[in-house]
Symmetry: C2
Subunit: 493 residues, 2 copies
């Protein structure tokens, strides 16, 4: 709290890093690329988990748990999968340490080498499909709708708290189906679940789309995604849902007896979101004063700060504060009453602004006389005095929390719309990326080569082919070859 | 469902393994020593997690997340800690694979060796205390009450589903305190939380006690534990809570400015329970027909099975079944209505017995005429016909679930009491262990040497020194040296 945060307009990246640290969300650990998620940051992830878990169960999925380790040979079974993950994985080669001969520590015991090395899972398709082989014999065993909450490791060279870390937490759904149509339907269903979660809970507008060949998941036939826009005009992939075709079924020989007596490979999907969403939440809404949290994911929705001199005033205010707290808690609104006398009200105001608490109630001696409180909104930084004789505080705050949730979404949506530009020529395209950033909707000839060249020249990638795009004849901004519709380009996290 | 379970009396170990597999709880994975927790088994663990998490939060703890990997050098910082864990840990030595030169797979890339090897956490004291060093400066930062839900790896040579696996899921609490008294109080508080959870939710009576020097946690000053009795007369350690003294604070140089201006090492505790509890739950209560689950942890508390011929009968029964299901669901009782026509009622009865569903409601055409249902209890295997004109089904079932919960506990308690024997001579001691098994309360001279000799000769270990033991002068059953009280011996899992 000693000095102000860096400003977004001056150094967005520094602003983000400092905010994550000062708001007690996470920090780098002693292990390269791995983060420590601090209690306040973890409580946001817990709120996300609870909601997502409910949505997964409401759509028929059950949780299970599969091993952390994957035998090296499993990775190689699906050709593009191993290409995608081999270069960035943590490899376990030994299962024992022994005392150093100098007696000053421990060394790896060379006699304890594993026969086959184990990979710390970067994702679990291989170990799960090797298991599904035993679970699936007949169409009666399908669909299999399983989700796992787990940690995964991808050895990243450049890491960033929440957005890209060597270890991260996520959920991975892995489903198996009788028909292609059913698997595609599941893939799209989970994309919609993610989009609903992003928009209704994170207050984060997202574009639903399909990835290009270059950007799809290693091992998928098609990758669906939701893409969000950050305040610096860079895009962020917030969730992916993969139609796996029969790729992993073939790799692990998972067949089922069909209804008409045949034998066929199973159709698969997988889908995941991760602690990266916490980074997206921060980057999308927060300001130069600190976090701005949508009420539905805020660990503390309302904080009550007493303004007092001496114990007697505090006691009198506490009675009123406790009354309000109890009334709000009964409606499942999470309230903190910060009655510490070791910090001044001004310090507390700044602290809860930094922590993104959506509503702050201040109560001073004059408020007691007038039966009023002062209410401050984090999203707009506006204040109002509420006369409790006239206004029912619970009704008022319930409505305000909804209003804040909607306002944060509306603001992010307006920003994204403002940051979405149509470009028809290469010059427009490059200029928009450089001067305005954001999404650029442009024609593309559909080839991986063109996409690659555009990326080399501009660092922009195709974020997605939007599901709701209008068919439109045009010419590729790069190759001038014909195109049947626009895709969304952006520089991205 | 094809053939009966092995009998407990004939082969307890086989009975357990078969039950775990047939009830769809877990199975061995392709990775040595690691299990797959299947959806039904995982849903029991989820119920345990939810309840424990609530109890941890009610006692002031917050969740956080620390890295999976521990730098090798960290382990060595606490001398007895490294002794305890170095011999059974998974070691990451490389961070990349590359294509095999034969082109037929992948090999570890020798150019991607880590400068310092990383250990997959067997427990997180070292990485957490290295972090606490940055979080704790002053007494104002204390107490620090943190819990983590995580996976850990201990390279076990002999594994057993749930009871002992190389990877397991657990929670580990890690707290930091200003004074020794406060840390001891926390250690004991969490022991009581575990005991309450075991007895009230798992219906598992436990002995609260302290471990001997030989059995305490590597790095602790004192280890408290809860010990349970399984149906084969072997003991099972169900949870531990460690008073760490200042050991880890000293190893990682974690000091705080005291209230009177001094500088002192922080006092610590850690405590954990794991998926092993699922194994304990199964072993303690289940019978030759399958699982017996206490209602408070049963994923399905009530199952409704229709007895019907043809669609018309099923439809008529479904109306009544749905009515009962809705009424029970409203009271937060989890109900499944199994209306599948692909399985016969008899098959379903056996299936839900195997799965340990506490109550089964059967409804046939005659029940519709009489407005009755047949109710079967899993714990006692008794049945009764309920006339719905006379009995309110919701009230009746709510009371029955409580009664079942209590009955399962009472049965386990009676069994444990019956299996607890006092022995005063070496002959009695050995004979009891061999012929009756269970806990043997005997005098011990208090030395690690004697404990070690007794273990060598009988395979029995000191499970704990009970917290509520009566002081009693006596002589050690092995050495005949003086003893001040009895301790509990048993062969154990």
């Amino acid at each position: 709290m000693s000095k102000a945060l860096p400003k977004r307009s001056e150094d967005y990246s520094l602003w983000y890093n400092e905010l994550v640290k000062r708001a007690d969300l996470a920090e780098n650990s002693a292990v390269r690329g791995c983060m420590v998620i601090k209690p306040y940051g973890f409580s946001i992830w817990e709120k996300m988990q609870q909601q997502l878990d409910k949505m997964f169960k409401d759509t028929g999925h059950s949780n299970a748990y599969f091993p952390l380790f994957i035998p090296k040979s499993f990775l190689s079974k699906e050709a593009s999968h191993v290409d995608g993950f081999a270069k960035e994985c943590a490899v376990v080669t030994h299962y024992r340490l022994k005392a150093d001969e100098s007696g000053k520590g421990v060394v790896v015991d060379p006699d304890a080498a594993l026969e086959e090395e184990l990979i710390v899972r970067p994702t679990s398709e291989t170990v799960i499909w090797s298991t599904y082989k035993n679970w699936i014999q007949s169409y009666r065993d399908l669909p299999l709708l399983v989700n796992q909450w787990a940690n995964v490791v991808r050895w990243e060279m450049r890491t960033r708290l929440f957005l890209r870390t060597s270890e991260f937490l996520w959920q991975e759904g892995h489903t198996a189906h009788e028909t292609k149509a059913e698997a595609v339907e599941e893939t799209v269903r989970m994309l919609h679940v993610y989009a609903e979660f992003a928009e209704k809970f994170m207050a984060l507008p997202v574009i639903k789309g399909v990835k290009s060949e270059n950007e799809k998941f290693a091992g998928a036939e098609q990758t669906y995604c939701i893409e969000a826009m950050m305040q610096d005009g860079k895009a962020l992939q917030a969730g992916t849902s993969h139609f796996l075709g029969q790729n992993f079924a073939k790799a692990f020989d998972v067949k089922f007896a069909t209804r008409d007596g045949g034998l066929e490979y199973v159709w698969g999907t997988s889908w995941g979101v991760s602690t990266r969403l916490v980074g997206a939440l921060i980057m999308a809404h927060s300001d130069d004063n600190g976090l701005v949290l949508p009420p539905k994911l805020a660990p503390i929705q309302v904080v009550i700060v007493p303004i007092f001199k001496g114990e007697q005033e505090l006691e009198a205010i506490s009675v009123k504060a406790q009354e309000i707290k109890d009334a709000l808690s009964q409606k499942n609104i999470s309230v903190k009453f910060d009655n510490r006398d070791t910090y001044k009200p001004g310090w507390k105001f700044a602290e809860y602004e930094l922590k993104g608490v959506p509503l702050r109630i201040a109560i001073g001696p004059r408020d007691l006389q007038n039966n009023s409180v002062e209410l401050a909104r984090r999203d707009t930084l506006t204040k109002e005095v509420i006369n409790l004789n006239e206004v029912d505080i619970v009704t008022h705050i319930t409505a305000l929390l909804d209003e804040i949730q909607e306002n944060i979404f509306a603001k992010a949506l307006a920003f994204r719309n403002e940051k979405t530009t149509t470009a028809d020529t290469w010059e427009e395209f490059v200029e928009t990326l450089d001067k305005k950033a954001g999404f650029v909707a442009a024609h593309w000839d559909g080839t991986p080569e063109t996409e690659e060249r555009i990326k080399e020249k501009t660092k922009a990638t195709i974020r997605c082919i939007p599901l709701d795009r209008e068919p439109e004849e045009g010419t590729c901004i790069f190759s001038n070859r014909p195109s049947k519709g626009r895709v969304l380009f952006a520089r991205a996290y």
